[in-house]
C-alpha cells in the first residue's frame, strides 16, 4: 500500500470517527432542545465507571415490566409509550411494536418475555366446595410479562459531588420522604436525562451545598 492510500484511509477513518461521535452528540442535543419533558421518580446511588468516572446510578420507581396481550421476541425493538401518572410524574402506559403518531415514546428492547400462568385447583366440585385441594395445575392466561430496559440508569457527576448526592438523597428521604426525580427529554424515541432533582432542586446544587458545609 503506498503512502497516498494510507493517508486517504487515515483521513476517511478520522472523518468516520468524528462522524460517529458527532452523530451521537447531535441527536442528543436535538432531544435536549426539542424533546418533551418527562419526570420519573428515582432513587440515586453512587457507583463508579473506570472510563466515564463517577456517576449516580438511577433506580427508577417506574416498573420495567408490563403485562401484554401478545408475545414479544427477546431483543425485539419495542416502543414504551409514556403517559401521565397519578401523582404528577410520568409513567409507562403501554408497549407497542411501532411508534404511535402524537405519542411520547421511548425506543427500547425486550429483555425477556414470559407467559403468565394461573393456578387452578385439581379436583371435583365436591372437593372444591370442601376446600380440600391436594394439587393445583398451571393454566396459561394468554398474557405475557414483558421485561424491557429503560435507557436512563446513570447520571454522571463530578467525583466529589456524586457521593454527596447519594448522601443527600438518603438524608432527604429519611427526613420528609422527598423523592428524587429524573427529568428526561424525549424526542422521537430517544430519551436524554436533563437533570436529577431532589426536593425540587437540581441534585448538583444540593450536593454542592452539602460539600461546602
Amino acid at each position: 500500500m503506498n503512502r497516498r492510500w494510507l493517508l486517504i484511509i487515515a483521513l476517511i477513518g478520522l472523518m468516520a470517527q468524528c462522524g460517529v461521535m458527532g452523530f451521537m452528540i447531535i441527536r442528543r442535543e436535538i432531544a435536549l432542545r426539542n424533546g418533551a419533558v418527562c419526570r420519573f421518580l428515582t432513587a440515586p446511588v453512587d457507583p463508579y465507571d473506570a472510563f466515564r468516572g463517577r456517576y449516580v446510578a438511577l433506580s427508577l420507581a417506574e416498573a420495567r415490566s408490563r403485562l401484554c396481550d401478545r408475545e414479544y421476541l427477546r431483543g425485539q425493538r419495542i416502543y414504551a409509550v409514556i403517559g401521565e401518572g397519578t401523582n404528577g410524574y410520568n409513567a409507562i402506559e403501554r408497549l407497542t411494536l411501532r411508534p404511535e403518531a402524537g405519542a411520547v415514546y421511548i425506543q427500547t428492547r425486550v429483555l425477556s418475555c414470559r407467559e403468565e400462568y394461573r393456578q387452578l385447583p385439581v379436583g371435583t366440585n365436591d372437593v372444591a366446595r370442601a376446600g380440600r385441594f391436594q394439587n393445583t395445575r398451571h393454566v396459561p392466561t394468554g398474557r405475557y410479562h414483558v421485561h424491557f430496559a429503560l435507557p436512563f440508569d446513570r447520571f454522571y457527576m463530578e467525583e466529589k459531588l456524586a457521593p454527596e448526592a447519594e448522601k443527600a438523597y438518603f438524608d432527604v428521604n429519611r427526613r420528609d420522604k422527598q423523592e428524587g426525580v429524573a427529568v428526561v427529554r424525549v424526542w422521537r424515541g430517544l430519551g436524554v436525562i436533563e437533570d436529577i432533582e431532589l426536593g425540587g432542586r437540581p441534585i448538583r446544587d444540593v450536593a454542592r451545598e452539602r460539600l461546602k458545609r
Binding site: 487515515a10 478520522l14 470517527q17 461521535m21 451521537m24 435507557p151 454522571y156 457527576m157
Partner: protein, 450 residues
C-alpha cells in the same frame, strides 16, 4: 538481522579479508549490504518506550476526563471530546508530510489514536448521561479502530481490535445474543495482518499480530458456537486445531521455530489439550440429539453455524492432510511404510467424530473416553518414535509429555492405590529421563563422528 549479529559479521568479514578468504571488492560489497540491514533494523527500545509514553498519556487523558468537569458545560466538553482525535490527525498529517515512516513513530501513534477514540466516546457518554451499555460501547470503540489499524499498521490497535471484539462477543453471548457477526468483523482486519506479514522488516510485528489473532479467534470459536447440540464443540475444536496444524505442515515452515509459526504451534498445542480433556468421561456425558438444547437463549437458525463448522473444519483438515502428505518424502522401517506423526494428529477430528457417535448413539461415556485414551496414547508413542528416529529432543519430549499426561490423567481418576500410583510415576519419570539421555548420547556420538 540484529545489530549484534551484524557487528559479528563485520568483524568476520575483516578477518576473511586479512586471511585472503574473500577479496577486497567482495568484502566491500558485504559491508555495504549489511550496513543497509543494520540501518533498516527495527528500533525496539524506541518503539517500546514511545508506546509506553503514548499509553500513559492516553490513560492520563481518560483519568482527567473521568474526573467530570461539571462546570465546563456541554459545548466545551464536546470540543474536548474531539481534541485527542484532532491531535492524532495533526500528528499523522505532519508525519506524512515529513515522511516519518518509522515504527518508532507509528506504533505509539496507533496506540494513542486508539485510546483517543475510546476517550471521545466515553466523554460523550459522560456529557449526555448515556445508559450503561458496555456491549454497544465496546463494539463502537472496536469498529472505530479499523481505520487506525489500516493507517498505522501498528500492533496495539490490531491487538485492541481483536481483544475488543472478543470482549464484545462474550458480552453479547452472555446476554443471550448471537455472536456470529464476530467472524465477518474479524475478516475486516485480516488484510492488515497479511500486509504486515509481507513486509520484509515486520517479522516480529506480524508474528505478534498472528498470535493475538489466532488466540482470540480460538477463544471466540467456543463463544460463538450456539451449542444447541451438546458435545459438537469437540468435533469443531479438533477440526480447527487439526486444520491449523496441517496448514503449518503444508507451508513447510518447520525451520522458523515454534514462536515464529503461531498457527502450527497453536494447532498442535490446542489439539493436545482438547484431546487430553476427551480422555475423561465428563465431556461424553449427556451429548447428542437426545439432549438437544431448547432454552430461551437458543437461536435455532444460529445452530446451522455449528453444523457447518463441524463439517467444514474436518473436511478442510482432510484436504490439508492429503496436501501435506503428498509433500513429505516416503520412509519405511524394514519395508513397513512409516507415517509422520502429524498425520495421526491430523486425523483427530475423524477419531473424535467416531467417539462422539459412540457416546451419542451408544449412550456410554466410558467407551468413548477409553477410545480417546488409546488414541492419545498412540499419538504420544508415534511422536516419541518419530523423535527417536529423527533424533530430535524436542519431539521426543513432546511425545513423552503426551504419554505422561495420559498416564497421570487416567491414573488420577482411577481407584488404584497410592503405592501403585507412586511406582507408575517413578517408572514414567525414569523412561522420560532415559529417553533424553539416549538421544543426547547418540547426538554427541553423531557430532563427534562428523
Amino acid at each position: 538481522m540484529t545489530s549484534g549479529k551484524v557487528k559479528w559479521l563485520m568483524r568476520e568479514v575483516g578477518a576473511w579479508e586479512r586471511e585472503g578468504v574473500v577479496d577486497a571488492a567482495t568484502a566491500t560489497r558485504l559491508r555495504a549490504r549489511y550496513a543497509l540491514a543494520a540501518a533498516n533494523e527495527t528500533p525496539w527500545g524506541r518503539i517500546i518506550f514511545g508506546s509506553l509514553g503514548a499509553l500513559l498519556v492516553g490513560l492520563g487523558v481518560i483519568a482527567l476526563l473521568a474526573a467530570n468537569w461539571g462546570d465546563l458545560g456541554r459545548p466545551v466538553r464536546t470540543i474536548i471530546a474531539f481534541m485527542p482525535l484532532c491531535a492524532c490527525a495533526v500528528l499523522y498529517v505532519a508525519g506524512y508530510r515529513r515522511r516519518w515512516s518509522s515504527r518508532a513513530f507509528l506504533e505509539p501513534l496507533g496506540l494513542f489514536w486508539g485510546l483517543a477514540v475510546g476517550t471521545g466516546i466515553a466523554l460523550i457518554g459522560q456529557t449526555y448521561h448515556l445508559p450503561q451499555d458496555a456491549e454497544a460501547f465496546t463494539l463502537v470503540w472496536t469498529l472505530l479502530l479499523v481505520p487506525v489499524c489500516y493507517a498505522t499498521r501498528a500492533l496495539a490497535p490490531v491487538a485492541g481490535y481483536f481483544i475488543g471484539l472478543l470482549i464484545w462477543v462474550s458480552m453479547s453471548q452472555l446476554a443471550g445474543g448471537v455472536g456470529l457477526w464476530y467472524w465477518p468483523l474479524v475478516a475486516i482486519v485480516v488484510p492488515v495482518i497479511y500486509c504486515a506479514y509481507r513486509e520484509p522488516d515486520a517479522e516480529v510485528r506480524s508474528t505478534w499480530m498472528l498470535w493475538i489473532a489466532a488466540l482470540s479467534c480460538t477463544a471466540a470459536l467456543g463463544i460463538t458456537l450456539e451449542k444447541s447440540l451438546p458435545g459438537l464443540w469437540m468435533i469443531v475444536y479438533t477440526g480447527a486445531f487439526a486444520a491449523l496444524l496441517l496448514g503449518g505442515e503444508v507451508r513447510g515452515s518447520d525451520e522458523r521455530g515454534w514462536w515464529r509459526n503461531p498457527l502450527r504451534t497453536l494447532g498442535g498445542g490446542g489439539l493436545a489439550v482438547v484431546l487430553y480433556l476427551l480422555i475423561f468421561r465428563w465431556p461424553w456425558q449427556e451429548i447428542g440429539w437426545n439432549h438437544w438444547r431448547t432454552d430461551i437463549f437458543c437461536h435455532r437458525w444460529a445452530s446451522f453455524f455449528d453444523f457447518g463448522l463441524s463439517i467444514a473444519l474436518p473436511v478442510t483438515a482432510a484436504f490439508l492432510l492429503v496436501l501435506a502428505f503428498r509433500r513429505v518424502p516416503r520412509r519405511d522401517w524394514y519395508g513397513v511404510p512409516l507415517l509422520p506423526a502429524w498425520v495421526l494428529w491430523g486425523a483427530a477430528p475423524f477419531v473424535t467424530a467416531t467417539a462422539y457417535a459412540l457416546a451419542a448413539y451408544g449412550g456410554s461415556d466410558r467407551w468413548s473416553a477409553l477410545f480417546m485414551t488409546f488414541y492419545l496414547a498412540g499419538l504420544g508413542l508415534a511422536t516419541l518414535g518419530e523423535g527417536l528416529a529423527e533424533r530430535r529432543p524436542g519431539t521426543i519430549n513432546a511425545g513423552v509429555l503426551v504419554l505422561l499426561a495420559v498416564i497421570i490423567g487416567r491414573f488420577f481418576s482411577s481407584d488404584a492405590s497410592f503405592t501403585a500410583k507412586g511406582v507408575v510415576f517413578i517408572i514414567c519419570g525414569g523412561v522420560f529421563l532415559a529417553a533424553n539421555l539416549v538421544v543426547s548420547r547418540r547426538m554427541k556420538q553423531k557430532e563427534g563422528a562428523a
